[in-house]
């Protein structure tokens, strides 16, 4: 029995470590790519680790970089658990940041304790709307949410460009010839508290709390149960009386809400103003896509996403140091992130098969023990009967 427990545990440990193996495999491929580009992989990865975790400041930077990934990733968990795929993190992030910026700029002299929470709420709302539209389209018109969320990304970016070049542009930029598309700086009173002298801000802690809350939502509330039920089996959920369309739309809206929150936190914690380089990436740093990677790495579990976001935040921060050390563009990390996604989903089947086999073994064991107990009870009965 003890041995069985041990093998059971070790197989579960292997399953939990699969994403780590996938990442190691991606890093191995990356090592060959580095070699092909004429760089020493050890020096490159050494610089990467040094840049990500080498000092208090770099760890703080990693945490700051991980924050939007964690928000977005936790949101991705909700969507994927609800059986819908949210590729719209980028657009939801932008929509959230825009709404938060609007609130922040509208009340420059308001009390920070009122304005900042209101702005964060507005950002959450913006993201929820941007995710909720594809959600409603999916729920009521069966429009493929992957495609609609991607289109919503592009629409959000153009909306952002329009607002930042036009109505929201920094008055200072308006007077200059350069006309850099960015808003005015928020009132410094609104800046989220920082752990001086590092750049670590309150948003990181909020993100961790949010991950725990979403875990509780998904596994400890009726709403979360229903979302997961719809994700597992729409037909069965409908039969059980769950309003399936509503929960599909809700899953995407909640997912978007978290990405919107991330955008709002990015404004008040990191950039203090909104800016654009014409594309989504300029402002978001591709958080919408890297968040998916973090969520997959965390096995679509909000708590698993916490260390995953930290790890990928580290990769992204370290990539800059690597670029300086061995002159290999940081784009390598985007390539590797893509490979991590491919490898993780590729091993998914294997994991499922192992889980199924394990369950079958457990059932067989249980039945065996049942038979044994029944037999011993029966034999005890006959013995007793014999005695009487």
């Amino acid at each position: 029995m003890k041995q069985r427990l041990k093998s059971y545990l070790s197989s579960q440990v292997i399953d939990a470590l699969l994403p780590v193996f996938a990442t190691l495999a991606a890093l191995l491929v990356g090592a060959f790519m580095l070699l092909a580009l004429g760089a020493n992989p050890f020096v490159a990865y050494g610089a990467l680790i040094e840049g990500a975790f080498g000092s208090i400041n770099s760890i703080a930077d990693t945490l700051v970089r991980a924050t939007p990934l964690l928000f977005v990733g936790v949101g991705i968990c909700i969507a994927f658990r609800g059986g819908v795929i949210n590729i719209g993190g980028e657009g939801q992030f932008v929509a959230g940041a825009l709404c938060a910026t609007l609130v922040g700029l509208s009340f420059p002299d308001g009390p920070a304790l009122l304005v900042v929470p209101a702005a964060l709420l507005a950002g959450t709302f913006g993201g929820a709307v941007w995710g909720g539209i594809p959600g409603l389209l999916k729920a009521h018109f069966n429009v493929n949410e992957i495609l609609s969320t991607i289109m919503m990304n592009q629409i959000a970016v153009q909306g952002m460009n329009f607002l930042l070049i036009g109505p929201l542009i920094d008055p200072v930029q308006l007077e200059r010839a350069s006309r850099i598309p960015q808003t005015a700086r928020m009132s410094p009173a609104f800046d989220l508290p920082r752990l001086v002298p590092t750049r670590l801000h309150l948003g990181t802690f909020i993100a961790v709390v949010m991950a725990v809350l979403v875990y509780l939502l998904l596994w400890r509330t009726t709403l979360g149960y229903r979302i997961r039920a719809v994700g597992l089996n729409r037909e069965a959920s409908r039969y059980a009386g769950i309003n399936v369309p509503r929960h599909i739309a809700l899953a995407l809206a909640l997912s978007g809400a978290l990405a919107g929150f991330a955008g709002a936190v990015q404004i008040f914690g990191v950039n203090f103003r909104m800016f654009t380089d014409g594309s989504a990436t300029g402002f978001t740093g591709s958080a919408g896509f890297h968040g998916i990677v973090a969520a997959l790495f965390g096995q679509l579990h909000p708590l698993g996403t916490i260390p995953a976001a930290f790890f990928f935040g580290g990769l992204l921060v370290g990539a800059n140091r690597m670029q300086r050390a061995v002159q290999v563009p940081a784009a390598l990390i985007v390539t590797l992130n893509g490979l991590v996604v491919v490898f993780v989903v590729s091993t998914e089947l294997w994991r499922q098969q192992r889980t199924r086999r394990r369950l079958a073994e457990q059932t067989a064991e249980y039945e065996e023990s049942l038979v044994e107990t029944t037999a011993s009870v029966a034999s005890a009965g006959t013995e007793q009967g014999g005695n009487v």
Binding site: N144, S279, I292, V341, L349
Partner: protein
């Protein structure tokens, strides 16, 4: 002001650039149609296009040989397609997510290669317009339709060919059977795996071509994220076109015409913010998706991996 758009010259201009701009959508969309009809959703089109675009551009930049560039793009696309096929068919990975993985991979890889091998945005002399004798002499419409480059002609030729292959050949029948009821196809001796491998790899080839059509025929440049969402739109066009080559053509034309209109709005300096003009095609796609899914039903086995029972 808006009336300025409706002069003969501008309308012809929109038509000309619309026909040109449909090219990458056609290649990528037709390739994706075959993949989806066989039951595989390849969301990595964008990544495959980027890699194909870079491969073609770099080859032409180094050798000056356009056909070699095309060949390298095809090979790069085929490799990416084969990888997607292996992951989604043999390893039975979730297709939506693995496609995003390949998108990120292609996005990063093409950027990485661009920065290390080129560094700056350059131009090449790509495919030049070839006037078709006689036809191009037709007044007004001749130059619009029959003075394009070879890749544009190729894209439009591809549509009837693809429709024929899909509807009138044994291979097309197998593709459709595998995408509708793989179990039945399998029981009749059609190898579901082989058919899907062929369609997905072919999809990669056409995505590579689509990328090449941008980098060595339409724009003649390469830069980071050159395609900027074009590959995803191509996937949407497959839905819009009801999984039929002619439908994809209709969608591609509608889409590229709106795009061309948007360019002309900017050229003429009409009082519509250019951002809204750029936004238009994406809004249109969402509307088109809503309309399209009410009309046609997707292939039954789309995104479902096949396991022989037994």
């Amino acid at each position: 002001m808006i009336g300025e758009l409706f002069t003969a010259q501008v309308l012809l201009g929109i038509l000309t650039s619309g026909i040109r701009l449909a090219t990458p959508y056609l290649y990528a969309g037709i390739g994706e149609t075959f993949g989806q009809r066989s039951g595989v959703l390849n969301l990595g089109v964008e990544g495959q296009m980027l890699v194909g675009a870079f491969a073609a551009f770099y080859t032409v930049r180094q050798t000056g040989n356009l056909w070699l560039g095309l060949l390298v793009a095809i090979l790069a696309g085929a490799l990416m397609g084969l990888a997607m096929a292996f992951v989604s068919i043999t390893l039975r990975a979730k297709q939506g997510i693995s496609g995003i993985g390949f998108f990120l991979f292609g996005l990063g890889l093409s950027d990485l290669l661009f920065q290390t091998m080129l560094g700056t945005v350059e131009t090449v002399s790509g495919f030049r317009p070839v006037a078709i004798p006689l036809l191009s002499a037709i007044p007004v419409f001749g130059p619009v339709f029959f003075n394009q480059n070879l890749l544009v002609y190729g894209a439009y030729l591809l549509v009837p060919v693809a429709a024929f292959v899909m509807n009138r050949t044994t291979f097309g029948l197998k593709v459709r059977a595998v995408g509708e009821t793989p179990e039945a196809a399998d029981s009749l001796g059609v190898s579901v795996t082989r058919v899907r491998y062929i369609t997905v790899t072919m999809g990669g080839v056409f995505s590579g071509l689509a990328g090449a059509s941008l980098s060595i025929a339409l724009l003649n440049v390469f830069q980071q994220n050159l395609t900027s969402g074009l590959g995803f739109i191509a996937v949407a066009l497959v839905y819009f076109g009801g999984w039929r080559p002619w439908g994809v053509l209709a969608g591609a034309l509608l889409f590229s015409m709106v795009n061309a209109l948007q360019l002309w709005v900017q050229v003429l300096g009409l009082p519509i913010p250019s951002e809204f003009a750029v936004m238009m095609p994406y809004v249109l796609t969402i509307v088109a998706l809503v309309v399209a899914v009410q009309r046609v039903r997707p292939p039954t086995a789309l995104t479902k991996s096949f396991v022989r029972e037994g």
